[in-house]
Symmetry: C2
Subunit: 323 residues, 2 copies
Amino acid sequence: MTIDDVARAAGVSRQTVSRALNDKGEIDASTKQRVLDTAHELGYRPSRFARGLVRQDSISVGLMIPDLLNPFFTEVAAAALEAARKRGWHVVVYDTGDRVEEERGTLEVIASQVDAVVGYLSLPEDEIDKLIRGLPAVLIDREHRAERYNAIRIDGEAGVHAAIRHLADAGHHRIAMLDHAARSEPSIRHHWFATAMAACGLEPVAVSRADQSLEGGEHALRELLAEHPDVTAVFTFNDIIAIGALRAARRLGRRVPRDLAVIGFDGLQLGTLVEPALTTVALDTRELGALTIEQAGRLLARSGPLSHDEAAVKAELRLRESA
Amino acid sequence: MTIDDVARAAGVSRQTVSRALNDKGEIDASTKQRVLDTAHELGYRPSRFARGLVRQDSISVGLMIPDLLNPFFTEVAAAALEAARKRGWHVVVYDTGDRVEEERGTLEVIASQVDAVVGYLSLPEDEIDKLIRGLPAVLIDREHRAERYNAIRIDGEAGVHAAIRHLADAGHHRIAMLDHAARSEPSIRHHWFATAMAACGLEPVAVSRADQSLEGGEHALRELLAEHPDVTAVFTFNDIIAIGALRAARRLGRRVPRDLAVIGFDGLQLGTLVEPALTTVALDTRELGALTIEQAGRLLARSGPLSHDEAAVKAELRLRESA
DNA sequence: TTGAAAGCGGTACCAT
DNA sequence: ATGGTACCGCTTTCAA
């Protein structure tokens, strides 16, 4: 079913069909109506590829998200969508379910579908290279693993320092961290935590690892407190883990923040919803999304990319109730 | 920058370039390498449109979501993405921010970008008609407003009946509902509520309207209880409103479920997270997503669409702690 | 107002 | 192993 079929059925040339469909002038009203009618009867739809080929507009970017149901990634995705819409871009979203095979498969197929890829990728850089073959890419939060690709960094150093300082000022000196358990190396957030502790003249009581889920946080806090009952404050890799910890604390009968102070990382809206509201080192996810899209735009336009400093979003301490 | 530029630069024909890029056989290894190198130097990327034009594969659907940050829609989106990925489809996501203006603008531009649209649309059908001009569309949860389009319904009748029956059996007879405030007409969920109440021989104490937000639910419950202090149970339009109500109840010093029973609708994961966990009439969002994509597939294949009964997902009472 | 022809940027088929 | 040519389905330019 092509434009020619419609033309034939309506007894006109295909240019006339094109005119009718695209609301161009220079066409008799009755002809137009007749063409429109036959097109409708035939159930004709113009090929988006043929159209795109000739009108060189419309940009679409692929957005890679590890798990859309994780509220943090939901916020990032929403922010990226918003920034893209302002430019009239289309965003093709892929949820890789945190599986590298899915990442691979998606990247393999993505190259012929979008003009750029943005988002979270856990594959090593050389493998990404092979898969996307020059497709412009903007990776988010690669921590120390972003060498060759343009990445948007999350700079939580000052925020974490402020958080630890806040705990220290409140008299806490038995402080622990719940880091994530995904990769074998400690996270960069842990690094910030360690230097912040040192700057306050404090020694971490312990650093446990938690799955990035409510249950993960709950479980990890229970274990932590079992081993170190004297801990009075915890800093966590992210808000999800922190909220799990909050729940564990409540079930253990520890009152937050009186018996145990909890500080998360991310600044999720979800944190305002729990009781007590979560104190956290907050990220501006909308800025993160905007920067990501901005960087993609620069790559596509081949104008200079954002500098190392510009390509970062700073996180800052947001005091609520849990610390 | 086209395939011809690369061919010229490498001193070969464009077919040879095509072979090199697509890993076809029948090409000298050294030639291939030379072509690949020049392509890389030139920063050449094949046009996805030209490619799509000749290889007629790859389907992409537009997914319209009113507000991705609303956890319910996040779940639906994730479910649709999952179902689409199983078929190898690409999903272009549009967050309309609950504004009809955005809906219009998106639909207008979408027709030349995707093979089908699915999701939530609040525009009236005749306006949708004009905008998408025959693009296959699957609307979700149009309640009673879906006449001509294929829609996936949410059938909560039995679930709501079970919920009200549960309340009645627990001795509640002062029951109210917090409906949504979006449209002027009462929701179909309200209709189910009303018939369920009647079936139990009960008379609703009141039906208030709430914005679909935590604050909306909180506010609405306060007003409701101010006017009708004798209410002992509420059924809400959705879980978000219910969670807001939960918060209001706690702040008013009403213990849930002892002083006030609360039942929501949707079955959000979020509801397991609040304290007490929310009893709700739960929807299988994954099934909803799967059905939506399935229906889109049938429309594209021009095979028969799902029947009225098949195109529905049933909601059922999920007892947790709040009632 | 309408139609013929020339692309848009690729891939596939058939020679060479 | 490589190149010539047709063609994918549509829009734009130019004549008629």
